[in-house]
């Protein structure tokens, strides 16, 4: 029997209240603003790969919680991030998305900053002698920046724990492999997704949706041992999905998709042929391995229903043209704008958001539990990680994800 309005609006009938969320977490502007303060500016956020700022003066501009930023390598080889705005009138200083420069010059009044963020030049400086300030008072605002396994992260919170402590054991599936090679970014794309940034991220973390991708259905779900992998939950909202419970790798059968080859050449050192792993780093980075391919995927929140999703592909620096071509070919089969999976994921997120924004679907279920015989570990089609994510989100927000608005109203 179909449900009437009252039934539809009442919380799902599940044994555990933590196993669903209220859709307003994806759509509410107040929650979005609060989330910027309490979640996005207090956790470590992935920016780019070190190869993107390889030499002194190499920079990459980006933004986080609306704040324009520039990440740049200094003459001392240290990678720093600054708020990308001039201390004078606030013009954006570095306007290109990437490049190299000796110093940063604001195009409005030609003030100049060095790569360490010091204000080093003002035309006709004597004009500030009477009233001040001095150049020393005008250096750029620096944002904490650190590197883990070649991945550059920032944190607006000066008091947050170190990046290494923050990631902890969640680095286990990828740190060694990243360090086995000198890597560089060979693929980049970004897409404005009409959906919430968390919905994008959690689509990566929801392996139950592998049913919907033809690629995953044929090459993975059909493969023996597919379900025998546990979620490995880590502190700070992280988690990963890699080996079978017995420690053996999960090897995807790529040949099952028409005209594809198995991935047993060009496999990254430390992975088995065809091996799949995914690591999810709170709040929004997913690190994927598909034997010969590495994908870094995250998004930048713009509004409750709008995020900019970025995909990066990593390859081995200096590999032959043929190897690079093969690796690229395999990467873009599954990821990127002309791929089998990424465009499907975009469609799922946008379709979901359209309904949630209209209030059509008040709740989002995450009550799947498929346990191993040990009664402890949960299999990959369990919503284990989703519950973990929302637990961390609720903790940081001080609001339960299953009823954040009522809580808000009560507090007002």
């Amino acid at each position: 029997m179909s449900r009437n309005a009252e039934e539809h609006l009442s919380p799902p009938k599940v044994a555990d209240g933590e196993s669903y969320i209220h859709a307003s977490v994806y759509t509410d502007p107040d929650l979005f603003a609060e989330e910027e303060e309490k979640v996005l500016r207090r956790t470590w956020k992935f920016v780019c790969h070190i190869s993107e700022v390889e030499k002194a003066g190499d920079y990459r501009t980006h933004q986080w919680t609306g704040v324009p930023l520039v990440t740049i390598r200094g003459n001392d080889d240290k990678v720093r991030t600054f708020v990308n705005t001039c201390s004078h009138r606030g013009a954006k200083i570095v306007r290109d998305v990437a490049g190299n420069m000796k110093h940063m010059t604001c195009f409005f009044h030609m003030w100049e900053y060095d790569l360490e963020g010091n204000c080093t030049y003002q035309p006709r400086e004597e004009g500030y002698e009477e009233l001040g300030p001095t150049k020393d008072d005008l250096s750029l605002r620096e944002i904490r920046t650190d590197i883990f396994a070649g991945l550059i992260f920032i944190n607006f919170d000066g008091n947050a724990e170190s990046l290494r402590d923050y990631i902890g054991e969640a680095g286990e599936p990828f740190e060694k492999i990243f360090n086995n090679h000198e890597l560089e970014v060979f693929h980049y794309n970004q897409t404005h997704v009409k959906g919430n940034w968390k919905a994008w991220y959690l689509t990566n973390c929801d392996l139950y949706h592998e049913w919907s991708h033809l690629v995953n259905r044929t090459t993975s779900v059909l493969t023996k041992g597919y379900h025998d992998r546990p979620w490995r939950i880590q502190p700070n909202g992280h988690g990963y999905n890699a080996h079978h419970l017995d420690g053996s790798p999960f090897q995807v059968n790529y040949k099952k998709y028409k005209s594809w080859e198995n991935r047993d050449h060009l496999v990254f050192k430390g992975l088995a042929p065809g091996e799949f792993r995914v690591t999810d780093i709170f709040p929004n980075l997913s690190v994927f391995f598909r034997a010969t391919c590495i994908r870094l995927n995250h998004s930048t929140p713009i509004a409750p229903g709008h995020c900019i999703m970025e995909e990066r592909g990593l390859a081995i620096k200096g590999e032959s043209r043929e190897d690079r071509r093969m690796r690229t070919k395999q990467f873009v089969q599954i990821w990127g704008p002309f791929s089998r999976n990424a465009s499907e994921d975009c469609a799922y997120v946008e379709a979901t958001h359209a309904c949630q924004e209209a209030g059509a679907n008040p709740y989002d279920l995450m009550s799947r539990v498929e346990k191993f015989e040990d009664g402890v570990h949960e299999r990959i089609h369990s919503d284990t990680y989703l519950r973990h994510f929302w637990g961390e989100w609720s903790r940081l927000m001080g609001r339960p994800a299953n009823n954040p608005k009522n809580f808000m109203e009560a507090a007002e």
Binding site: F186, T191, H192, L214, K329, V332, G336, S339, S343
Partner: protein
């Protein structure tokens, strides 16, 4: 008999029409046996050229056969092309440069520009009819919404 410029133009325009109509078998017939198809662009973010699609006959055939089994953007594409230049490389091949605008129409009938780019084609003119030996769809547009399974 030498292949005329008009025959080459017609071949390129036909490739657009057949893709619009999703007549994939006929589309593949416009190519040589060992063609290479690519979608490429320049990314200022990583300061390098990159490939977003790279497929030979077998791969494109496999993909196009699977397209109906995939979830994809609803609606339709329409390609508008103009051949700007044809250059002969001796008797057997020619290079053609074509500017392409791809319009996307939603199921509700709203149309927008989806992407612009250029076909850099190598045309085999050694036989009775011209065939596409290589195609590089060099995209100017890098933001293509949710993306697509299809060659462009």
């Amino acid at each position: 008999m030498t292949i005329s410029d008009d025959q080459i133009k017609n071949l390129i325009y036909k490739s657009c029409r057949l893709l619009d109509a999703e007549e994939f078998d006929d589309y593949l017939d416009l190519y040589t046996e060992d063609f290479e198809y690519k979608v490429t662009n320049y990314s200022p973010e990583i300061k390098s050229d990159q490939e977003w699609m790279d497929a030979n006959r077998a791969e494109l055939k496999g993909l196009l056969a699977n397209v109906p089994l995939h979830f994809r953007l609803l609606g339709s594409f329409m390609r508008h092309a103009t051949v700007y230049d044809i250059e002969r490389n001796g008797a057997d091949t020619a290079n053609a440069l074509t500017y392409v605008t791809i319009y996307y129409t939603t199921p509700e009938g709203a149309t927008s520009v989806w992407a612009v780019g250029r076909y850099h084609d190598k045309i085999d003119v050694s036989g009775d009819t011209p065939l596409i030996a290589d195609r590089n769809m060099k995209l100017e547009t890098r933001e293509v919404g949710i993306g697509t399974h299809l060659p462009m």
